[in-house]
Amino acid sequence: MLYDIGLTVFNGLAWAMATFLVAAGLTLIFGILHILNFAHGGFFMIGAYVSYSLMTGMGGSLPLWLYLVGAMLAGLVVGLLGWAVDALVFRRLRDVEDAYSLIATYALLLVCGGAVQLIWGLNYLGVTPPPALNSVVFVGNVFMPTFTIFIILCGVLAYIGLELFISRTQLGQLIRVVAADPWMAQLLGLNVKRIYLITVIFSFAMAGVAGALLMPNQSLSPELGGIFLLQAFGVVIVGGMGSIRGAFLGALLLGLIESFGTYFFPQYPGIFFLLALAIILLVKPEGIMGKEQTA
């Protein structure tokens, strides 16, 4: 029994941190630009594919540091794409109704999916984690793949890093100012457009890194974006749109609900976080960190 609880919690944490890695950028863009970005899933996927190409290009099984460098490179590529997206699309969505801007980002997701199909094809692709992360650890008698532990660590580190970045650095504080009141920030002489651009690039880069980090152990297919996107949407909404802490807590909550749900009803994986999402939205539509907006 204790063994089961340990394993279930571990699985929940794995779900939560993998999802948080995707959700972090999503919630950041929503907090600052008030755009719920469907395309995030697409750029996450592009990050995964770019890193796949880098890894197989360098000969498959790589040492840990090269895998991390690859992830950073993938983040850089997707961040640059973010620049283009901001200039071409997001900048024009400021005065567009919510429904239409949601649809515009969905259109971007379509473009991403199409591009991935054109470049990498429809076949399932996959790589194994770097050898250093491709083993298992037993804690007590709970079986833990090191790669999963690594992802959980990445999620926690990403959260701490983001919290520090937003609250301690000057740039983070500027971002908060713009999120709170872009009009006033403009009056004070801040270059709001530039802050928006930085936010978008940063968020896209995070999507790219997340894709690259999570890529091993996944079968890469053009549908990959959609799966993580839905989970990340759930986490962002439960967390209260735009709050990083909320997204982190929301990820933990939904991850644990999902893994305990799947433990008790193994024939229905994947529905418990959706059920929980619906119930939480009904009871508390503004999310668990609703009032405390942004980052």
Partner: protein
């Protein structure tokens, strides 16, 4: 005063011309193209049902796949497991199934959520339905339900044989034209006008003594039943109900049709569905190209031509007329959005 009778005649004529155009297809094209045209005809009404909610009631649904899939599976189950139930009853059950799902989720979702929240909530619900289908043995899990036979409608005196693909194709286009006109009538009925008033100004309409949420729910249920009806009609045509038709990418199809064609126009989704079908057919040999084309078109529509294809045509025509008359260019160009339901 709007002359509804004249408008009705105009729109009836549009539906009639569309029907005639679709009726010609089997004579000029091969069976593959006819199959595609049948799906496009279904998609047209699927798009119309979604736009009833979007332009009519101002609700953005990202979950119409659950209705479409619900109707399709209801029809598949009836025709496979209860072959003694007449086909028409099966269609009605399919539509009712969608209406029921819409009622259930509408009661929950409409009470609290609005705007983007509503969109994501419908997305989550629809994914829930999709996963439930893939995990339920009775519904064939991931394999879906196959081998659905096309029906023979027995009318007592004589019977209509729809077992061949061509005859069923004609059944589809006639029924879809009828449903489309029914939707037009609803949107231009007092109830339809009321729902549009709610979209334009919810608070003010509520002050008139209108129970806003009940009417939004009505629109949701109606839209859901029509979408489910489309699913139910499709199943005997394709002879398979697979879980993909309840997947969330199906939910986005009517959104694409509507926006491409022009959300502010009643026939916008129809134009969009035909355009989408054409793009899909034209790019079928290049994996991914159709997504890119549709995605870029959709972006262009949202960012540059908010009225969609029909809005673009209308603006062109107005411009041409102004040029011809030589009048001042200061005249307001009406945006497509305010003219819903014409």
């Amino acid at each position: 005063m709007i002359d509804y009778r004249a408008r009705f005649r105009t729109n009836l004529m549009i539906a009639g011309c569309g029907l005639a155009a679709f009726a010609v297809v089997p004579f000029v094209a091969n069976s593959g193209l006819m199959f595609l045209a049948g799906l496009v005809a279904i998609n047209i009404v699927f798009g119309l049902s979604w736009n009833l909610l979007f332009s009519g009631a101002g609700l953005l649904s990202f979950g119409h796949a659950m209705f479409f899939g619900g109707g399709a599976y209801a029809m598949a189950v009836v025709s496979l497991r209860m072959p003694e139930v007449p086909f028409v009853i099966g269609l009605a059950l399919g539509a009712a199934c969608g209406g029921l799902i819409a009622l259930l989720f509408g009661i929950i979702a409409l009470r609290r959520a609005s705007g983007v929240y509503f969109a994501v909530l419908t997305l989550a619900f629809s994914e829930l339905v999709h996963i439930l289908i893939t995990k339920t043995t009775f519904l064939g899990r991931n394999d879906g339900l196959v081998g659905i036979r096309r029906p023979v409608i027995d009318l007592g005196v004589f019977s209509i044989d729809l077992t061949s693909a061509t005859s069923y194709y004609y059944f589809i286009i006639v029924v879809m034209a009828l449903v489309a006109m029914m939707l037009w009538c609803f949107q231009n009925s007092p109830a339809g006008r009321l729902i549009q008033a709610i979209r334009q100004d919810m608070t003010r309409t509520a002050f008139l003594g209108v129970h806003v949420q009940v009417w939004q729910l009505t629109a949701f249920v109606l839209s859901g039943s029509i979408a489910a009806f489309c699913g139910a009609v499709m199943v005997p045509f394709t002879q398979i109900a697979s879980p993909e038709i309840a997947y969330w990418t199906v939910s986005t199809q009517p959104i694409l049709f509507t926006l491409l064609g022009g959300a502010g126009y009643f026939w916008g989704p129809a134009v969009g569905a035909i355009l989408f079908g054409t793009i899909d057919f034209g790019t079928r040999t290049m994996q991914g190209l159709s997504e890119i084309t549709v995605g870029i078109l959709l972006l262009a529509v949202v960012l540059m031509i908010p009225g969609g294809l029909l809005g673009l045509l209308k603006r062109r025509r107005k411009k041409a007329r102004r040029m011809a008359e030589g009048s001042s260019p200061a005249q307001h160009e009406q945006s497509g959005k305010t003219e819903a339901g014409q």
